[in-house]
Structure formats: structure tokens, C-alpha cells
Symmetry: C2
Subunit: 393 residues, 2 copies
């Protein structure tokens, strides 16, 4: 029946590459099917389960609630709880009307770009950075403008880089603090300067704060303290450990509230009702206590792993203050991080992410390691990598 | 701090209108806050709760599973269950690899349009039809080409209409069977002719089958029996009564499998894990028995409501065979369906949807009524409307 199937591929797909790490994961699954023990340090998802009070809240809601569509912007109670969280944790007053609850921060990103970007509009972002961000822009016809960043700016954009790289068609700058893959933060004073620099260009700043809460030895401040004209995305996935539930939020400048709501109605109808009812328990004192224990555990993992990897010949020139990633220079060990990641997987049974997924800025010299496993497993991973690299500890 | 907020609105937003029904809902909430009893026949969401076996499966999964990200295409077990459903219910063999589980059929639509449409590409669709569809196209830079349809074609596109309206920039045709708002089906022979017509133009057919299972006196056949080069969207929201969970699926032509997976990885990461575990119970015999009881109940509501509305002066020239909507000509009662909907709400306390939400084809003469309430409430609604309209029964 399928005589003449036609296949036209949208032009955007030429810019939307599959992740390199998918090849690593495919190989990992093959090795596991052969009986090998693989230590997974490639995925941006910790080993912790969703906190029990959150799971319990979901189960209660499943008994008590009909699980219908909610408002496109989310349950009012949850929007208010998020606004209260900004007041309690950051001392920043935000009207709950500016909070759009979304299907993960993914949906939040699509909404923010959707209401601002026209085809051909540029967005400045750091290279290296999280690859999906530029693919969202491409989906909408926007053009990511990757600015190579290094250790001198903590792998982050600065006000100066924003000003110097702003062009005719630039509409937005996007900054992630803490960053994926580098785990670095932007200092509050630099956020303020960047806000001013973007405002001077009549542009829009989008801050990615999805790793907030997962900072070590320092508490992140929200960019919202720099003004009401900034889009901020956040998520229940990382600090709140609700990855699979797919729930996040967008803080919307007042001028865009109605447009974001209209787009959300059309693109999503409503965020997941069970996830929203569950998330109401995220802000309970008992949940926060669990989350803070885990944060301490992640800090210990980081503190173990940095010197251990350095002793193997990796370089981690900027100590990451947040997220759960180490972005390591592996050039003393290899000239090709992708071949290296494959080799480490095949010979040491440790899955890591090659730099290529994060941009074009010396990706062959970098790998990302996620400390998403207990310390015992991290030690095992280090020992296994040590056994196959020339420069043993 | 907010000295000079900038506000640039993406051009697409000029084409993405808020739903008229939102104004109706806002007024309904106001009246309810004043103590009025409002009968809600405006929302595309039945009064039934998610079937208990599905809720129970979710609660079990919450106890047993860590609720992490799943594969971007969904749990393999669920993809296989959906493929089996096509075999069992339709006698059509589909590889599970062609099934992408999505965050509602909303996400399925964005994926299908995302891999096919370039900016400026046209999509043919019926007027009246579900408004989000054209807004998805606009989000991606596509151009909806609304083809006015009437009773002569059961408010549906035909192969002839597709061929005659196909232009230089037309890339796709989209057909919903059953349709929202009209509830009509396309006959299987016409689906086959349309498939051929689209194929002749080297275009792509997208079939919306989200109201499958909710047909009365007839079983819908899937367009997949006409070929492997068709995109089909479906949903757990309607027949399976899982609206708030946000879960649907896309059947992908083999040639697009890898591209759809790449786009899904980037735009969504993964569909909701709790919803997927719950949905595994949708295909259990005991769940299907509940669903079929509800289908019978919906048929009774339709069979009550059509003559009752006709006795009030509404015209329903094509008896809808599916979904849970009546698309009624109200021109004997009003020259302005929006004012009429507002009047019916204010004076009779019955919320209905004005035609404007569904296109430009004589919207002022039409309203949509959703039979999403028990028959007793439908009777009350009819009595209340009778009391305020001139032509009482």
C-alpha cells in the first residue's frame, strides 16, 4: 500500500542533532545486556528517588481528585506556593500571576522563546552550554549565537560579552546559573550588570535557574532581584528530584503574562495534574529536610571526585559550585574526547558524556561527568578509569 | 528597578488568539462565585473520572518505581501495548518502534509538524476545526489554510477538496475523525481517497484520531490501514478518560522515526513517567469494560440532546457519530452566537462555546455543546435554555 512514500524533512532538523551521549548509552545498554556492570555518570539525573512526602501527596491526590485538566498556567495553589518559595528563600516578592507551571522547564523554554522570538532572531548563549536550549530556538526559527567562554569567566557569559556580541538581529541572551555542563554560577553583581546590558539593547534576558538549590558552600540568588523584565525558568526535576514527573515553571514578565497563557493553552492545554498535586508537597518542611540532606551528599561527592579525577590527569580548572556535573579537560589523556568516552565505557565500564554535546568550543578536549551515583560507585569508577589510563594515581 | 522594560512580541502571537470560550469561563466563574449554579457544557472534558484500574496502577507504580525520565519515545512496554491495541482493535500491524508516547496529543502534534513543516509551508484543514491545530502550525512558522466545509461533506475535508485546494506551498493535510467541534467521521473509503490524493501531491497526511473509541453505532477504522506514510495522533485523554495526566501518542512513518525521536529528546526529554505507568492499565479487560459503559452513556446523552435542542430551535443537520460534541446552528435563535452564548450563560446559567473558536466559517451562526454532564443535568440545561428562548418547546 506504501507505493510512493514521500519524505520531506523540515529544514530545522538539520540544526537539531541527536545527542552524542545517546551513542554512549546505546553502547552501555549493549554491554549491560552482555552482563557487564556499567557505572552511569553520563545522565543528568541523580540516583535519588522522589522524596516520600511528594509521592504520598500524589497518592492522596489520586484518591481524592478527579485528575482533570487544570488551568493552563497551573493550579493556583501551586503557583502561590512557588511565589511563596521566592519570598521565603530569596526574599523576592513575585505575584503568583507571573508563575506559569509547565511540563518541565522544557515547556517553560518553549513558551518564553515562543512569545519573544521571530524567525531569524538571535539568542546569545555560552559555549559550552546545554544543547536543548539551542534546539528550542531552532524549532521556532531562532538562531543561537554561541559565544565561546572559558575559565576566565567561569565558563559563563558576562555583561561585557553580551554587549560586545549583541548584533542587529539579537533579541535575547540566555544564561544558566548554575550551568550545565560546567556547574559554575554567575556572581550576583554580574547578573545585575548583564541585566542592565541586555536592557540597554532593548533585549530580553532569560535566566535558567533549574539547578538552584543544588549549590555547595554558597546559596544562589535569583536574577529576579534584578528586575521584573526577566524570564526565569526553574524545575521540580533537579533540586526537588521529580525528573520523570515532568514539571517546572516559568516566571513571566508582567507584560507577557497574557501571551504566555494563550500560548500555553494552545501548546499544552495544562501541565500534568498528578505531578502538580504531588509538587504541592515539595515545599513542606519535611521535604526540604530530605532535599537538604541530599544536597549535602552531592557536595560530598563533588568534593571527593574533583581531586580524584585530577589525580588521574583530568583538569578541572574552575571548581563548580552547583548542579551535579564536572566539566573536565581531558586533553592530557586524549586528543579526542568522543573516542575517549567510548574507550572508558568499553574498557572501564564507566559511561561519561563527550564534550561535543555542549557546543563547538574545544569539545574534543572536554568530557562531562555527572556525580549522580553514591560515593562508593564513584570510587569504583575512578579506580576503573585509573586502571586503563597511562597515568595511574 | 524596572526602569525601561522592553516588550517585543513575536509575530506568531498575532495569529494565536486566546479562546473565546475563556471569556465564557471567566464569566461562569464570576457567576459561580456569586452563588449561581452553572451547567458546564463548554469544555471538552467529560465528567467521568480516570478509571479505577488506571488510578490503582499509578499508585502501585509510585510505590515500586523511581519515576525517573523514561526514553524520549516512552516506556517500551507502553509502546508495545499501544501497538497491540492497533492489532486487537483495528487488525492493523504497527511496529512499536513507530509509536512515540507523548505529553498529550498536543506534544504529538508539535513533533509531527516539527519534523515536516518549514516556515511558510501550508497545511490544509477543515473550517470549522479545533483551534489549537492551526496555532501549532503558526508556532512553527507554518500557514494553516482553512477550507470551509459544510453539511454536504459532513463538515470534513474530502479527497476532492484536498486536490482542489492544494497549492505550491502546501505540504500537509490534517483531518480529524471524529471531528471537534462537529463529531463527524470521515468514511473509510474517503480516507483512502484522501490518502491517495495527498500522496499524489507528494504531501503528508496527518490524521487526528483522538476521539476514537467514542463513536456511537459505528466503530471507527484507523487511517493506518491506508498506508505506512501517514502520521496519526491519538490520546489517553478522551476514550481512556485521562485528561489531566497529559498523555497521548504519535504513530510515525518509518522514514521519520529517528527525527521524531531526536526532536522529542530535545523538546520534551520524556513523557510523564507516572502517567505512562498508569496508562499500562488502560488496555486491561476490566478497564475497557468501564470505558465501554461510559461510551454507552455518552451515546444516550447524545440521543437525548439532539432532539431536545432541535425542539428549542437549534439545527443539527448532521448527526454526529463520535466525540462528545454537538455543533448546532443557532441562527433561528440569534444572529450573534457569541452574544447568545453570553446570554445563555447569564440568564440560563448554561455555559456553551461560541462558534468563533473553530474558525471563520459562519461562526456567528454556530455554537458547540459538549455533552459532558449526566443526562439529568442536560435536561436541566435544556429546560433553562427553553425558559429564556422565545420558541419554547
Amino acid at each position: 500500500m506504501n507505493d510512493a512514500p514521500t519524505f520531506h524533512l523540515a529544514a530545522r532538523m538539520a540544526h537539531i542533532a541527536p545527542f552524542e551521549v545517546m551513542e554512549i548509552q546505546k553502547l552501555a545498554r549493549k554491554l549491560e545486556a552482555e552482563g557487564r556492570d556499567i557505572i552511569h555518570l553520563e545522565i543528568g539525573e541523580p540516583d535519588f528517588r522522589t522524596p516520600q512526602p511528594v509521592v504520598d501527596a500524589a497518592k492522596r491526590a489520586l484518591d481524592e481528585q478527579p485528575m482533570r485538566y487544570t488551568s493552563a498556567m497551573g493550579l493556583q495553589a501551586l503557583r502561590k506556593a512557588i511565589a511563596q518559595f521566592y519570598a521565603d528563600r530569596y526574599g523576592v516578592e513575585i505575584s503568583y500571576r507571573r508563575i506559569a507551571v509547565t511540563a518541565g522547564s522544557s515547556a517553560a523554554l518553549l513558551l518564553a522563546f515562543g512569545v519573544v522570538l521571530d524567525a531569524g532572531d538571535e539568542v546569545l548563549l555560552a559555549d559550552p552550554s546545554y544543547p536543548c536550549n539551542r534546539h528550542f530556538m531552532r524549532t521556532l526559527g531562532g538562531v543561537p549565537k554561541l559565544i565561546p567562554v572559558g575559565t576566565d569567566t567561569q565558563y559563563q557569559l558576562t555583561a561585557d560579552l553580551v554587549s560586545r556580541n549583541w548584533g542587529e538581529r539579537t533579541r535575547m541572551a540566555m544564561v544558566a546559573s548554575p550551568s550545565n555542563p560546567t556547574g559554575t554560577l554567575v556572581a550576583p553583581e554580574e547578573v545585575a550588570r548583564m541585566t542592565a546590558a541586555v536592557r540597554e539593547k532593548s533585549g530580553t534576558l532569560l535566566m535558567d535557574e533549574i539547578y538552584h538549590g543544588l549549590t555547595y558552600g554558597v546559596d544562589a540568588r535569583t536574577a529576579l532581584e534584578c528586575g521584573d523584565d526577566i524570564f526565569v525558568i526553574n524545575s521540580f526535576s533537579k533540586y526537588f528530584h521529580m525528573t520523570g514527573w515532568r514539571l517546572g515553571w516559568l516566571v513571566v514578565p508582567e507584560a507577557y503574562e497574557r501571551q504566555v497563557e494563550t500560548l500555553a493553552q494552545n501548546l499544552y492545554i495544562s501541565p500534568s495534574a498528578p505531578a502538580q498535586h504531588a509538587a504541592l508537597a515539595c515545599f513542606l518542611r519535611e521535604t526540604i529536610a530530605i532535599l537538604e540532606q541530599r544536597r549535602a551528599e552531592l557536595a560530598q561527592r563533588r568534593d571527593y571526585l574533583i581531586p580524584a579525577l585530577e589525580s588521574l590527569g583530568f583538569r578541572i580548572p574552575v571548581v563548580p559550585q552547583g548542579a551535579f556535573y564536572l566539566y573536565a579537560d581531558c586533553s592530557a589523556l586524549t586528543g579526542d574526547s568522543f573516542a575517549f568516552a567510548r574507550d572508558v565505557l568499553e574498557r572501564a565500564g564507566v559511561a561519561i558524556t563527550p564534550g561535543k554535546d555542549f557546543g563547538n568550543n574545544a569539545p574534543e578536549r572536554h568530557i562531562r561527568i555527572a556525580y549522580t551515583q553514591p560515593i562508593a560507585r564513584l570510587k569504583e569508577a575512578v579506580a576503573r578509569i585509573a586502571a586503563i589510563t597511562t597515568r595511574n594515581p
